[in-house]
Symmetry: C4
Subunit: 202 residues, 4 copies
């Protein structure tokens, strides 16, 4: 199988996921009985959940950008696409398509436990699918002793993200804002793209 079409399809799904999230933003609306406030900053600021949804949108946008970037670097090291690479890539895309949904719910109830847990679960499952995809590519290209395996090394960024997602799960029950701060920390860790893979890519 050919890497080009796997990249094209993944790019398509990621581009749609990153763009349809904006459809979750609630339109500013005047409070009932104050229709004269329509189209004012007051209606913008007081529309329930507009500001939290906007903040959640920014974070999710950054996450999709990070995944797109790392996915791009990872696939550049992939010479042949096996069935298990194809299906773990689809699993990764599946979890990413749930991100707009989880983003919308967190934006609606930013201080509640359940939506932050759902967002946490989606991020954790996405990260685990990425690990799976990475390991399938490693297996198909000579394992840990290969160039790619050595380039990944101990994969500190990947493991520390996973640990932070797991810490965030119980932390949500204390205060959802602790978990949300941890998601920002993970985003900052990954903000700089994975330079380890660059020398292996071709």
């Amino acid at each position: 199988m050919d890497r080009g079409r796997l990249e094209a399809f993944s790019d398509g799904v990621l581009a749609i996921v990153i763009t349809i999230m904006v459809l979750e933003l609630p339109r500013p609306e005047a409070p009932p009985g104050h229709e004269d406030l329509g189209g004012t900053w007051d209606s913008f600021v007081h529309t329930p959940n507009l500001i939290p949804t906007l903040v959640a949108y920014v974070l999710s946008f950054v996450y999709v950008g990070i995944y797109w970037n790392n996915h791009h670097h990872l696939l550049k090291t992939t010479h042949h696409v096996t069935a298990s690479i194809m299906w773990s890539n689809l699993l990764l895309l599946f979890w990413l398509t749930l991100l707009p949904y989880a983003t919308g719910w967190v934006g609606e109830y930013p201080t509640s436990i359940a939506p932050t847990l759902l967002y946490n679960v989606v991020l954790l499952a996405t990260a685990m699918s990425y690990f799976l995809l990475q390991s399938r590519i490693l297996v198909a290209h000579g394992g840990k002793e290969s160039d790619l395996g050595e380039a990944l090394g101990r994969d500190r960024k990947g493991w520390s993200s996973l640990v932070l997602y797991l810490v965030a799960l119980p932390a949500t029950f204390v205060d959802p804002h602790i978990s949300q701060a941890l998601f920002v920390v993970v985003a900052l860790i990954w903000f700089i793209p994975d330079r380890r893979l660059e020398p292996v890519a071709h």
Copy 2:
């Protein structure tokens, strides 16, 4: 005509179909008179049809993934694109665009006969369009005696899916869950990509 743009357009449609299905997922909402339950797992679990729609979404996601994968393998064997290949490809895409709609209705009424029948009809029509596309490609590349024709052989997977879809039609009237189980069986049959085509592809 050039295969590349047919692949790019099909990839675009499939990527959008697989991603907009998530827009069918109902947002968790508090039951009327219990607005204090907003943002809780209770509201998530009790939102009518959220769980069945999520299950239907997973199944449809897998189906689109299977079609994308097989479509990719089939087109790799295609050297020149005739008008009839182009139109049978569009027919296949047409039926796939109806999948999100049918998925939403099944998710809303998982135990009713009509939505499962509609889902069944869409899957059956998609499978028949795929058969048509395959036969148009065969005709344009030398028929059953060609490399592609021999690689396809008796096409057991294709024919058994068709039989299962046809069995599911009357079975829905007994119990829609029988048909839904049959759709899962078909997905499992196709889960492993069609290795027969790999040696012919270039």
Copy 3:
């Protein structure tokens, strides 16, 4: 400018247009006071405008398919992309993005004059933009005496579609169904892709 990215962007827009039209299909709903009919064929058949919207969707899907196909053939003859080719291509895409909107309104009021007129205007403007794009490509490639100019010849299909759209405008005031029948006739005329361009393409 490079033809490849113009094709990729146009493919993206056309793929989205053809796929989001399905979002216009109304979900089957039980008539008020008959909630027990939810999930039945009765609710499917009696949901206002579901069947006409489905029919309008099929027609619009075929139209976008035809434009995609002809666009593909036309651009294959294009060696260099000038600013006026780029902008007339965007004008064509602009009118095509309005097709889902017009489709939704015709599906809602299939026997009213205004929605059919709007659909007619969108089809007419799309056809005129295609003519404009074609003429800009002709000008950039040596005019009517060029290979492309000769291949297009008297462009009977293009002109007869334009005449039929113009006839449909007053016919709508007699009966919208006459115009709708004319739109089907135009689709049938174009169903077979434009073979004239094939020998010039490279």
Copy 4:
């Protein structure tokens, strides 16, 4: 990193942004108590905000077209993609995804101050991200003394757009229509694609 996939992803996002804006257009609806007007031009013309939203849609469509075109020319001069080029490109895409949202609000309240200000802010932030992307590409390709740097020269179009957006900010408080006229002026300035970059592109 490879330029091709950056272009493909950007094309995907821009194609989706330009197409989903049409989902902001309100469906024509009969005024309450006048259901017999459904499907008439009266309902079309009197649907609140349909005409202003249509006008705002045309302007935003032209803006996305301009950005797509200039982005295409700019990236053609880019030989290697650094992390900072990748992230400033994502920042540009982020602001462009907010354009449909701002377009919908301006269309709903075309004579109010706040929506026009929001639209202004989105255009300004988009322009500044484009400047940032351009400067990151310049830095990675030899600075102002390079071919690209000389081709950009004093970048009159870029700076005059920025000045007009800044003038529009206070002008909105006098009358939002002054700012809206300035947005049209900027679009006209950019309508002709940036010829400066063409000789450097390869």
